[in-house]
Amino acid sequence: MLEFSHIIYEIIIWLFLIYGSAVFLVYGWIGIYALGAVIRYKKENTFTDYSIIASNPNAPTFSIIAPAYNEGMTIVENVRSLLSLYYHNLEIIIVNDGSKDDSMLKLIDAYELEAVSFFVQGEIETNKIREVYKSKNPAFKKLIIVDKDNGGKADALNVGVNISSGEYLVCIDVDCILEQDAILKLAKPFLEQTNKKLIACGGVIRLANNCKIENGKVTDVNIPKTLLGKTQALEYIRAFVLGRMAWSRASGLILISGAFGVFDRKIVLAVGGYDRHTVGEDMELVVRMRKYMEELKEPYEVITIPDPLCWTEAPETKDILKKQRNRWMRGTIETLWKHRQLMFNPKYGKLGMISLPYWFLFEFLGPLVEFTGYVIFIIFLIFGIINWPFFLVLFALVISTGFLFSIYGILVDLVSHQVYAKRKDFFTLIGTAILEPFYFHPLVVKAGVQGFVDYFKKSHAWGEMTRQGFNQNNQDLPFKDRLWARLQLGLQKWGTFASVFFLLFSVGIAAEWAWYRYSFPAINSSMIGQNLLLNNFIFILKLIFGFGIIYLLINLIKESWAKTLLVLAFTMIVVSQYLLFIYFSESRNLLGADILYYSEEEMKQILEASGMLNFQNIALIIILIAISLIPFWLAAKSSFKAKYLGLTFLGLGVISFLIPTQLFPLNNITSISEFDQNAAKSKWAYFLNSNLENVVNDYPELASLWGETNTFEMSSEMLDKEFPFWRKETTADFLGSYLNQSEKVPNLVFVIVEGLGHAYSSPNGYVGNFTPFIDSLSSKSLYWENNLSSSGRTFGVLPTITGSLPFGKNGFLEIEKTPDHFNLYNILKSNGFETGFFYGGNSSFDRTKEFLQYSKVDHIIDQFSYEASYQKLPASVGGESWGYEDQAVFEKMLQIQKPISKPYFDIILTLSTHNPFLINNTAYYEKMFTKRVNSNQISNDQKKWAFENKKQLVSVLNVDDALKDFFNSYKKRPDFNNTIFVITGDHSMPEITLQTKIDRYRVPLLVYSPLLKESKHFTNIVSHFDVAPSIIAHYRSKYNVSTPSTVSWMGRGLSDNPRTDQLRIPLMQSKNQLIDFGYGKYHLQNNQLFILNNMQEEIINDDKIFKKANESFKQFKNMNSQFYNTKKLMPDSVIVNFMKKTQPKF
């Protein structure tokens, strides 16, 4: 998972870096391009004589439209300023948008107005015009004042457009102060047009704050007094002199400021005027006009000229500034969403392919990316994903680039118009540029993000998706209709939810597939990809159906409950998809209901030891939650207009239940490895099914609903149906014929090596021999190559190997009060053996300690028993160590278990070959690994496997080496010659790809002792269930050890011939998964039957055998279930009596 999260972090960092580079390049281009444009304009207009149109009656008519709302304080002065503009053919239209103050009275009084009949030619729909006024005084004949009902700025502008008669419209904010020659300068580009139609033109807006204004004219330019004002002065320079000029030159301009812009009236009328439903009407109009021209396929342009023609008051309080920026952001989103079909649409030329994408990527996403960037990079810094120097250099780069852009803007402004020509103002601007990134910029970004959130919160128009709550009208309907209305609304919403869920889960599937490809280059990625997709799609559709029904039902009761439930549940499901596949790729195990059988403590230890509980992973989960939660939250705010999408999803869900998944290609091919097959499964589907099955198992009455019986047949050897496993002890002393009789009762030492699979501990294994010592020992031992463990994880090994015990529901150890039973510990101890258990980890894990305490083991050595001189295994990054290294465990055993007069029985359980496979002295064993791989003992086929599983195999080499040292030390002790060693593995590592299903359980079994008469290699199948019966039989027959006459052994004892007819080996893969069964030479798993030919699996279709095997498995399961219900293996008296009767003999 750590690697996965690192890759995710890298992707995130790279995304930001790429975005950052794009911003850098785009702004670099803007800077260079704007400078060229400004210089060109200046040179071209050095000697322009504007007077040729100032008084020319043939010059076109310009209509100034200035909407006013509650501007009573300044309106008279503002109008006076407009009336003093130099231009002959001018019409000044002031639209009073239903002001509540005395604006109209003041105007009437000041300009001698009288209401006149006015025929409105324009046909744009607007709110009602109350009156149109004209002045009685011929000096003000250019003036038209319109009084109308309040309808917002766009509506007021539309009234102005309707009323106007000029060829060009100058739309301004009434409180703006225009330069005297503003119209002359703006008229020139319109008069100069030849081949391209100029549809809109803007001029540079500057800040009037702190400037000296006399008679409606700016007479002395000063920089604003407040820092907020100064920064905005700087921002206006950057926006107008750089941004707009560059885009103007590139013919990509889509924003002419609402405060000051000129438009071609005919085109404005043709496109229907301003949009009254957006807060960004200025930008929206330009986009619509451009769209119109693109559709007409007529050449056109939208430009801005660098002359500072308009002065406006900028907000000098944070609150007003925030509101303004919030509105700009909402306006941007509304325009982009409204014209989304133009985006990346080559039909719309530069507008579709450059301008709108730029606006989307940089102007809209800019603040959002910057905000998330800061948050994420600070989190990364805190969690140590990036270091301080990296963060600082990146931060410095961002800040200094911003500063560079600002001072470059000041430079270009100097080249262009030298608005701020006072020395003090010039230096103040540079100072402001330094402070801007720390003071102003965060404010603007925050307001932008808030605007984004507000847009979705209020969500007044999301294109086709509209907010449709259950409104008052519906509440009044009769019950039946109300229900139907609610259902329809629910379906509309469901369409959005299901689409978002489908999309996000699909991303999860893609990530899973990509992750497997990256982590396991050898897998058949296309086949797995196909199946992952199919299996998961079926799963999602089923889930969508299930959740859909639940959602619709809850929605009938309360909409908010249904929404909350969905948002939380879907987020959880999407996030879990990542966790489930990462778990699989780390452990190569499918996670199922076994998760329920680990206690909180155990879970914590697993997570800590595997290094999962570190900041990086937690941060990843937080990021995943955020990435999933936000789209669902947005989806909760909107719904589709039609209910059909919701219905389609439900319909597909129904169909998905009918699709037989067995038909999918991978599900029927056995030549594909177990790992590949599992990789192709839907991890979520498996998890869910496993847990559902678990619930059914917990409540057998549920199973009986399906007609499943819980009975088993009484066999001849059963002593009591109440205790199905209780039988007479009949095991023959198989070991006797291979072991010399010792004078003294021999000691017994079991070495159980964690994860020691056959595949990598034998030259015949498909991975190769990575346990040279064990391999050399096998040639001196009784060696069963085809031995099976009883479980796919460690939880099964102790009860099986020491007591040949059945599993109960979730493994024998999980039974809360250990049922009375016989095992090697308690039988041998009652005969006077000293007993011990040696382990490097926590013996409480898997409830092992309870089992050992029940068996009254003398020495229970675990991680809390070691002195400081012993070395622990390394801890994973951000995690904890599993416990002590194997070398320590062996050493400790030799230290504690002294050569004594009485015999002893010890079990050593190793640890270092457990995930995350971290060992001390890695370099040494890696070298050993390389040497081994390059030796002729590993074939070319095996090499491929070896390299893929290097980390695991290095840890195997480590344990093998530790075992070798252990034996070398042991040999020097006097008791060595009188000791029987049993060496085996607890299960195969699922982390090393399994070739066949049985490989999970295939572990070597060695009985080694200096007492051996001969070594022997057996190829018949035996299991850990056979060990305890044979050991007991040997000690009984050769050393007169008291053993119980009745037992509950599952195994029949070790043997040398293929007892295929008798073999019945239940195999429990995980604590909740009892699906494997060894039946003679067959392996039954779920509903598939395999024949084992020298442990090579091949699927067969033999109904007869399948039926028999299945019945036998069922018989076991029912017997096991009977045991679990009573928690008793035999009558209490049997054990009590044996213990009472047996006296220590040594």
Partner: protein, 357 residues
């Protein structure tokens, strides 16, 4: 870092490198800004001195002009100063005429600024050439005319437009010869400039003007029509009348305006005859022409339009024309007529500027 095999360390170094470049750029930009700012301060100072110099020259004439020779000639070899001086002279030249203009030209010659302007004509950048043309035209450097003529076919609109203007400035009507073969459109702005610069029309221009009226370039025809209006070239009335059938609407509109300008007793008749075949925009222009003609003969025609024409814009104009021709009563009776549509009533009220209160 796994991607592109780039290590975090390498990335860090890269950023550090970029940061260094950004810092260098910041220093560069700051340095250049300070330099520009300093120059700006100089320019303001120089500008005052030049203004002073020019006003002195104009007010006192050549003799007293050299009152402070040192302070002025100190800079007169500085190229930035000379550029600014030139700019100021050209600017001033537009504002003055007669003796003052001569004084300005004298300053131009005295300081040998001709060299600078002619140098610009050999530059490659269009805006520099255009600037040079403006300067030589303004300072009347006759020797540059052949060179300017060669710029008439320059690919840059900026250059050829400036050359067109300069040619007209130098040669008056003869400078318009380029119209004979002009294929590019003459912008409104350029037309206004050219029209202002032509001060008289030679009598024997008939053939040339007729050729222009036949031009394939509509903007040439329009410019010619405007020229006719300016110089009241009545002899071309019938040729203009023919243009009422020109395929381009913009030409027909200009033709209507020109006919109105060259008005004779038959103009009203010609216009009303042509009216039915015209587009609404041309019709509007015809009504405007009728309004200007103040000819009572068109009243019946106007009344017909008032009732029958579908476009409000035209009706407003018709009503205004009737109003200006003194037919208030007719308009009032029409407004009071119950059979008149609401729109018509409103249009009449609008055109009569009736006060509501």
């Amino acid at each position: 870092m796994l991607f592109l095999d780039i290590s975090l360390h390498f990335l860090f170094d890269t950023f550090l490198g970029i940061l260094l470049i950004v810092f260098l750029l910041i220093i560069g930009v700051l340095y250049y800004s300070f330099y520009l700012f300093k120059r700006l301060i100089h320019l303001i100072k120089w500008s005052q001195e030049i203004d002073h110099k020019v006003s002195e020259a104009i007010v006192y004439g050549g003799e007293e002009a050299e009152t402070k020779p040192d302070s002025f000639s100190r800079f007169s070899n500085n190229s930035s100063f000379r550029d600014l001086f030139l700019e100021k002279l050209v600017d001033s030249e537009k504002k003055f005429s007669g003796a003052a203009q001569n004084e300005i030209s004298k300053l131009f010659q005295d300081y040998n600024l001709e060299k600078e302007t002619l140098k610009k004509l050999n530059q490659k950048k269009p805006f520099l050439i255009a600037g040079g043309i403006q300067e030589v035209a303004s300072m009347r450097v006759e020797s540059a005319v052949p060179k300017i003529a060669s710029f008439l076919n320059h690919p840059s609109p900026l250059v050829y437009q400036e050359a067109q203007y300069a040619m007209v400035s130098f040669k008056g009507f003869d400078g318009l010869q380029f119209l004979d073969s002009l294929s590019s459109k003459i912008s409104e702005w350029q037309q206004l400039r050219l029209l202002i610069s032509v001060t008289n029309v030679p009598e024997n221009c008939g053939q040339t003007v007729n050729a222009w009226l036949q031009s394939q370039n509509n903007s040439v025809i329009i410019l010619t029509l405007r020229l006719m209006r300016k110089f009241q070239m009545l002899s071309f009335y019938s040729q203009v009348q023919d243009l009422l059938d020109h395929s381009a609407e913009e030409v027909r509109i200009q033709a209507v305006q020109t006919l109105q300008s060259l008005e004779n007793s038959s103009t009203v008749l010609h216009l009303t005859e042509s009216y039915p075949t015209q587009t609404s925009e041309v019709q509007v222009e015809i009504i405007r022409a009728l309004k200007s003609s103040k000819d009572q003969r068109c009243v019946d025609f106007l009344k017909k339009q008032m009732i029958n024409h579908p476009f409000p814009k035209l009706k407003i104009l018709v009503a205004e024309t009737l109003f200006s021709l003194g037919h208030h009563d007719y308009l009032i009776s029409l407004a009071e007529d119950e059979s008149s549509s609401k729109q018509l009533v409103q249009i009449i009220k609008h055109s009569m500027q009736e006060k509501v209160c």
